[in-house]
Symmetry: D2
Subunit: 338 residues, 4 copies
């Protein structure tokens, strides 16, 4: 299957390298990025000759079967819809889009074109998350009571998320995964959120972007009554911290660890030193390969992917509601049933 | 120093046994409990001959230096004030009282009597919590950004907390410790709370006590802007789970573990089995001794205890506000500065 | 690069599947196995049409660049030498051969043919082991004092290792890796071993194979005075357990864990359940890919592999000496310096 | 019960402080130490007026019920026998004595006097060790196959153990506990040992004391065929490290951890920092209280203590044999059945 990567930044290159070195059934046939330098550097590193500055051109190439979209969120809707119109299967990174309407437009476009759409919630392909989901589905833990998810990114937030209105901020960029995970694990949709947020580490942007926050705590209520909480921080500096706790009637599941397994060092001064997980690229390296293999398999066999446009939409709705709650200082209901 | 224990139930006996077997500077001189059977059983076990059914009588005994009050919360104010009036030093279990007014009356009574008052927040005497506080105070972690505290009790809630109005419920009985810990560690007062709660495990009492909850998630805002979250569950069945995470500018402190250290068992089927911490009595066994030793030392040396009436008051205020938030479905501000 | 796998059993298939699905620079061009059913099953699974029952035929095929040898140990010498003579690069699984002489013959053959030889000590490509080696090489830990390695396999030993004389037993099949790891990490050759062994789990073979053991503890002395110990068990049932501890002047490094990270389950009865690492295939899945990628790179660039024939030889010498020690009931010196 | 502490050094003071502050049924009535300054400092700290420089005088005092002997090993036999002759119950620190003959003389003396003798193997009173023993005794793990014990002390070895002949060295001072633990947990006596040892950290004493070692690895064979290994190091600098692993037919028990539970610190640079267990005084603080409470209970009720003179003897025999093995370079059988 021949892929075109649209958006050749850091996150895009994770997919590109997997296509290039780890997935024998895939071919990285083309790259697309509006930034010419980014595009050419990536082209050289990955030895891909077909380079496009304009995604409209890329999605019309006949030799391309599918696109992987890893651009800033505000472009997702347009690119995904054009790609679908061009008959390309679409692997779309999170967050799916800026709001529910855009998500619905993407869903309509891929349905009209009859192409496959998968959202990049790679955690659903991670060994630990999958094992947790299986245990929950088996019923042995009883009903979920509280689901808690921590999502912290190591690096500074990209400047294009300073403007919450145009990006949905840290809750979208870092914590989209958490919003999807808690919904998937709870097996119920989020119906109410209340959020508190603050800007502790990026004070220098507070004047220009008073609504920008780098820390948030979100209280959640699910349709079936389940409780939840998400906390997000960016940057956490020490590493990428993704931990989920699912408290059930019969016990608790704890997914993930701050610690990167493999080596402990005990020093003369009595300190025991371990390494924190540095990056999502490392923590979820197998999941990133697995989600693309799943996408390829779904396209080939005409199957519905495990992560659908509706999953992307639901996460976007919750993020948007949480940002509203921060602005309004009160809980926000996520209405409508779909 | 001669003690009278008022309230000889399960929690009271923890203190009584410590006085009896572990603290050489103390003497358990008398017991008081309104339930005659409880009183006599405790008297026999502890070999204490001076037994009182009425606390008013107990607090007037000349041979008593101090009382330890471990009764249902609604009696705390009256007993503590009477004890102070009787010239007894007061060690008072959490929650301090049912509301801020009662707390203030207690504070006034002990100040008027010139006796020592200490609230039973034993976590402040635990090795892990103390080490965390010391690190935070040193400044090496930078400012606290988010403080999260999980408090879960193993056993069924006592029937006298079904009535939230008369008891403040699980957030008071189980999570008073969390409210105190986050405030102590954050170094700032809680100014706003938003809480969601549900009754998942005690459905049979829902008809009679529709406001009763056994699970709650509380979003916190502190005076200095710090964010926080407390989640409480009772019963958790699997054990007593007290874990706190303090996310700071320069990293994160993680206090406590669900695991009772000492032994891991790996079985043929590939499972690795550890034991969860069973009870607060086990987890904080050294802290329970330490807090009484501190109380004795403060009385003897006329020092102010590390945990004051004001600390008790602050936790009660936050609990009361969280319960209001549950009832009103909106965030509640904790007004006034004292 | 075109590979022929010689020995299509369980371990061989690990390499075959990696070549087939994970390594884009490799092609699995042919399979060879003396067992026709094994051969054809593997051929179908891997969709490899070129199948050989006789390795002599396989190593003469012009379209093959390299062989991966994963047969019973007693065939290693002959196959490796023939492959080298046929001009094929050789990736040879551990243990290298049955004794030092055979190892030297292989080394001579590949040197004469000018082909690349790499031994399958994949731990040297594992993240944790590599990090440990780097720390040790940096000098920050000071000199190694004691190195301890535990190697336990989950499944029953294969019947062809019942005869110690013909296989070198569990210490060769399971613990070759430990002998290599301790030598690599200590940075010094093993010069004396003392071993105790017992047959606890395979009693039914004790009559026919009285020398067979399924548990062993080996005391080690290195050339530079360092102390060591290896313990081996097969079957351990609960999983694959590979842990190494390197005690140094300035502290200790602990490599590996019995626990498969990702998910903890806490149950109503107070048990905390984690999963043990099930298999070397899982624990070292990235290392297996990495060692083949390294081999391919070395062949292409004419570099000396990180794991040489001499490393294979040194492990074989120590295993042979440990088996002698078991039989003779005394420490055995590993003479000669090479 | 009135105690006299004989030997008021660091280890002795652990017992003294427990008697003084934690055990209400005991009274620390007298102190004895040949060093006048040590004696007077201890007397002041503990507020004990009855001070003796000569143990012969102390053990004749009528007001003393029992002695706790914490002197250098070479004095154990004489003091214990004199104390028994004086009608005092004897709590004797490990190692019991310098050799099997001395142990037998102590056993004979206490039997003749009809007093109680307990050896200070406090690990047998530790929660983790007790839980492990209970599981092993229940039979659920099947037979023990290999038992491994690591014992490392934080501080420099005291000069009086440089002379192995007069002290039995590190294996006696630090690892007596390991020799007792493995025998207790395996449920079988040690019958053969082989040891390798080296002096890595105390090179400056090597000229005068060429036999002195600060690191040792001991291979063990038990009467019922079980295998074992003990490794000992002093000083380890980083802390007190006591971990035991019991591999059984049905799985493995892991007792202890290098990590002092309670607090983890994650720092900006991605390091996760925990504290190693600093000292046996901390790790076994509850066990030290429990063993004295058990001793008092045995004396009062005329019961046989859980740790007998025979247990002390068996550990001494194994240590002596291990030291012989180091000197002779061959395995040493521990003959005789008693």
């Amino acid at each position: 299957m021949k892929f075109c990567l649209i958006g050749a930044g850091r996150a895009g290159l994770v997919h590109a390298r997997n296509l290039k070195t780890r997935i024998k059934t895939a071919e990285l046939a083309a790259l697309c990025d509006a930034n010419r330098e980014t595009l050419e550097t990536a082209g050289r590193e990955l030895d891909v000759p077909a380079l496009f500055a304009d995604y409209r051109e890329a999605v019309r190439q006949p030799g391309i079967d599918a696109v992987i979209i890893v651009t800033p969120t505000l472009l997702h809707r347009d690119i995904a819809c054009e790609a679908a119109a061009g008959g390309k299967h679409v692997f779309l990174e999170k967050p799916m889009a800026l709001n529910a309407d855009q998500c619905r437009q993407i869903i309509a476009a891929v349905e009209a074109a009859g192409v496959t759409l998968q959202i990049g919630f790679m955690r659903r392909f991670d060994e630990g998350f999958l094992a947790a989901k299986e245990i929950l589905d088996s019923g042995e833990m009883g009903r979920v009571m509280i689901v808690k998810s921590t999502g912290r990114g190591p690096g500074l937030p990209p400047p294009w998320i300073y403007d919450i209105a145009a990006s949905n901020g840290v809750l979208a960029e870092v914590n989209s995964h958490d919003f999807d995970s808690v919904r998937w694990l709870a097996g119920s949709d989020i119906v109410r959120v209340y959020a508190e947020a603050a800007n502790f580490k990026c004070r220098e942007v507070a004047d220009q972007w008073p609504q920008f926050y780098d820390n948030a705590v979100v209280n959640l209520r699910f349709a079936d009554g389940t409780l939840g909480v998400i906390d997000g921080t960016c940057p956490a500096h020490y590493g990428y911290d993704a931990r989920v706790e699912v408290l059930c009637e019969n016990g608790v599941l704890m997914i993930g660890s701050v610690q990167q397994q493999g080596l402990s060092k005990v020093l003369c001064d009595g300190s025991i030193v371990n390494r924190a997980v540095k990056s999502w690229r490392h923590l979820f390296r197998d999941a990133y390969v697995a989600e693309l293999e799943h996408f390829i398999e779904c396209v080939r066999q005409g199957k519905k992917p495990r992560v659908t446009g509706r999953d992307g939409l639901k996460a976007v709705q919750a993020v948007v509601a949480a940002n509203q709650s921060i602005l309004q200082g009160k809980p926000v209901e996520i209405g409508g049933c779909e």
